[in-house]
Symmetry: C2
Subunit: 326 residues, 2 copies
C-alpha cells in the first residue's frame, strides 16, 4: 500500500465511511507481514479517536435468541440516534467458514440499517488470534464513529472470558427456566456477567421468566458476597415482542455512569489493555523458546516422566529450563 492509500484509508475510517472501515478491518485481520505493519500504522493514527463507544459483550447458549435480541436491541439503539457496530468472536468459524454472523440474514433489518455495521467473526487462527483481531476491529469501529459496539460470542471454549476482557459490560442472555439442562451455561460464566437478561419472556413462558429472574437475583447476590460496587441486575426481555430492550439499555447506561463517576471505567479499560499486552508478550516469549526442537523433545520427555510419576513437576521444569542457557 502506498502512503497515499494509507492516508485515504485512515481518513475514510475517521469520516465513518463503511467501505473504508471494512477494508481497515480486513487489513487488521491479515496475516501478511507487510499488512500487519500497515494495520498497526492505521490503528496508531486512529487511536486518539477511540474510547468513546459503549463496549458491550453478549453471550448465551444456542436457542436463547441471540440473533433476535441483537436485531431488536440494535434497531432500538439506531432509532434513538446511536450508531451500532456488531462484531463476533467465534473460534469455530475457522472450521465452518463463519458459523455466526456469516449470514447477515440472521439480522435482516439491522443488516440493512444505515446506522448499523455488522461484521462476521474473523475466520482465521486460534481463539487468541481471533480475539486480537476483534479487539482491533472494535477500536476501528469506535474511530469510525460507532458509539455502541456489540461483541457477540457463541460461548465455545474460553471465548466468553476473551469477550469479557474487551468490553465494558458483559450481558448474559438466559432462557426462562431453572438452572437445568436448558440453560447449559458453563461454570464461571455467571461470575463474568455485569447483567443478566432472561429472554423469551413472552406467551406461556412469561410467569416462568419472572421466577427465573428472582432465582438468579438471589444467586448473584450470594455469589458476590459482601462486595461493594456494581451488583448485576437480572431483568426479563422479549426480543420477539420488542419488550425490555429499553431496560437493558438503561441498565448499561447506569453501569457506565456509575463506573465512569468512580474512574473505574477508565481503570477497567487500562487493565484490559495491560492484560492484552502481557498475554501477547507471554505467548511470544513462550513460542520463541518452546518451539525450539531440543526444547520440544525435552518437553515430551518431561510430560511422560510426570505422567508416570517418575519425577515431580518442579524437577521436570528445572530440567527443561536448564536448556534456556544453551
Amino acid at each position: 500500500m502506498t502512503p497515499e492509500a494509507l492516508d485515504a484509508l485512515v481518513e475514510g475510517v475517521a469520516r465513518g465511511d463503511r467501505r473504508s472501515l471494512a477494508k481497515a478491518i480486513t487489513l487488521v485481520e491479515s496475516t501478511r507481514a507487510d499488512h500487519r505493519v500497515f494495520a498497526q500504522d492505521v490503528l496508531e493514527r486512529l487511536l486518539p479517536r477511540t474510547g468513546k463507544g459503549a463496549r458491550i459483550g453478549i453471550t448465551g447458549v444456542p436457542g436463547v435468541g441471540k440473533s433476535t435480541f441483537i436485531e431488536t436491541f440494535g434497531l432500538f439503539l439506531v432509532e434513538r440516534g446511536h450508531r451500532v457496530a456488531v462484531l463476533a468472536v467465534d473460534p469455530t468459524s475457522s472450521l465452518s467458514g463463519g458459523s455466526i454472523l456469516g449470514d447477515k440474514t440472521r439480522m435482516p433489518e439491522l443488516a440493512v440499517s444505515e446506522g448499523a455495521f455488522i461484521r462476521p467473526s474473523p475466520a482465521r487462527g486460534s481463539l487468541g488470534g481471533v480475539a486480537a483481531h476483534t479487539r482491533e476491529a472494535l477500536l476501528l469501529c469506535e474511530a469510525a464513529g460507532y458509539d455502541v459496539v456489540l461483541v457477540e460470542t457463541v460461548g465455545v471454549g474460553q471465548s466468553e472470558y476473551v469477550v469479557a476482557s474487551m468490553v465494558d459490560f458483559f450481558l448474559l442472555l438466559l432462557l426462562p427456566g431453572g438452572g437445568d439442562e436448558l440453560q447449559g451455561i458453563k461454570r464461571g460464566i455467571l461470575e463474568l456477567a455485569d447483567g443478566v437478561a432472561v429472554n423469551k419472556a413472552d406467551g406461556e413462558s412469561r410467569s416462568l421468566a419472572g421466577r427465573t429472574v428472582a432465582e438468579y437475583q438471589g444467586a448473584l447476590h450470594l455469589m458476590r458476597g459482601g462486595g461493594t460496587g456494581w451488583e448485576p441486575p437480572v431483568i426479563e426481555v422479549s426480543a420477539l415482542e420488542r419488550r425490555g430492550v429499553d431496560t437493558v439499555w438503561a441498565m448499561i447506561e447506569k453501569h457506565h455512569a456509575e463506573l465512569g463517576a468512580r474512574g473505574d471505567l477508565e481503570r477497567k479499560r487500562a487493565d484490559q489493555r495491560h492484560h492484552w499486552f502481557k498475554g501477547l508478550l507471554d505467548a511470544g516469549v513462550r513460542a520463541h523458546f518452546l518451539d525450539r526442537r531440543d526444547v520440544v523433545l525435552a518437553l515430551v520427555q518431561a510430560e511422560r516422566d510426570i505422567d508416570a510419576q517418575r519425577i515431580t513437576p518442579t524437577a521436570a521444569a528445572l530440567r527443561v529450563l536448564a536448556l534456556l542457557d544453551r
Copy 2:
C-alpha cells in the same frame, strides 16, 4: 548432606517418622541450591508412595471458625483411625512470621494427637513459591502415611485458587447469614467449592443456618447450569458442638468414590500436575527474558506508550518481542 543421611531421611519419611517428615519438608522449603537438589532427590524416591491420601482444601473468612473446624474435624478423623496432616497456604505469613498455624495453640488437642501432623505455612517467598512448597509438603505427608491431608488457606490474594489447584476436594466454610458483609467471600470462590459447610449452626443461629443452607443450595444449582457430574452439597455444621463433621466426611468420601469410579480423580490430579509443571515452566521462561536489562527498559517504555494510548498493545508487544532475537 551425605548419601547416607539422604537414605536415612527417605527411610524415615517412608516409615512415618514425624521428625524425618518435618526435616524433609524443611529441605523442600529451603532456597539453597544444594538443598533443592537434595529435596528433589528425596521427593523422586518417595513419589511411588504418594497419591493415596484424600487431599482436602479448606477456606473461609476470618471469624468463620476455621481453627475450631479443623480441630474438631481432624480429631473426628483420628478417632476413626485416620492419620491427618494439616498444611497451610498463607502468603501473608512472610510478613507476620506465620500468621496462621504458626501457633499450634489454635488447635490444642489436634496438635498433641499422635495421629496428626500440623505444619505452618512456609513463610518465605511469593504465593507461587509458598504453593510449590506446600504441594511438595503434601506429597511428603502422603509418603509418610498420612491418608488425609487438609490444606488451609486464609484467602488472601489468589490463595484459594492455588489451594484448589492442589486438592481433590475444596471445602468452603460459611457463616449463617445471607450474602452480606458477614460472608465477605470473594467473587469466584463459590465456583471453586466442591462442597459448602455453614459453620456455627448452633444456639440462636441454628435456624438462620438452615435458611443459609437453602439459599446457597439454590445459588450453586443455578451456577452450575446444566453441567453433569458432581453438584456441590451445602450442609450445616457446628464445630463447637462437634455436630456435622461426620456429614462433611461422608460428603468427601462420596465425592472421592464418584470421581474415582469415573477415573476423574486420577484425571484431575494429572491435570493439576500438568498445570503445576506448565506454570513453573512459563514463569522460568518469562523470568529468563523479562529480567534482561534491555527488555526491562523496553517494557517500561511500552507500558507508558500503551497508557498514553500512543500505541496498541499488539504493536507494543511486537516491539518488545523483537528484542528476543538479539
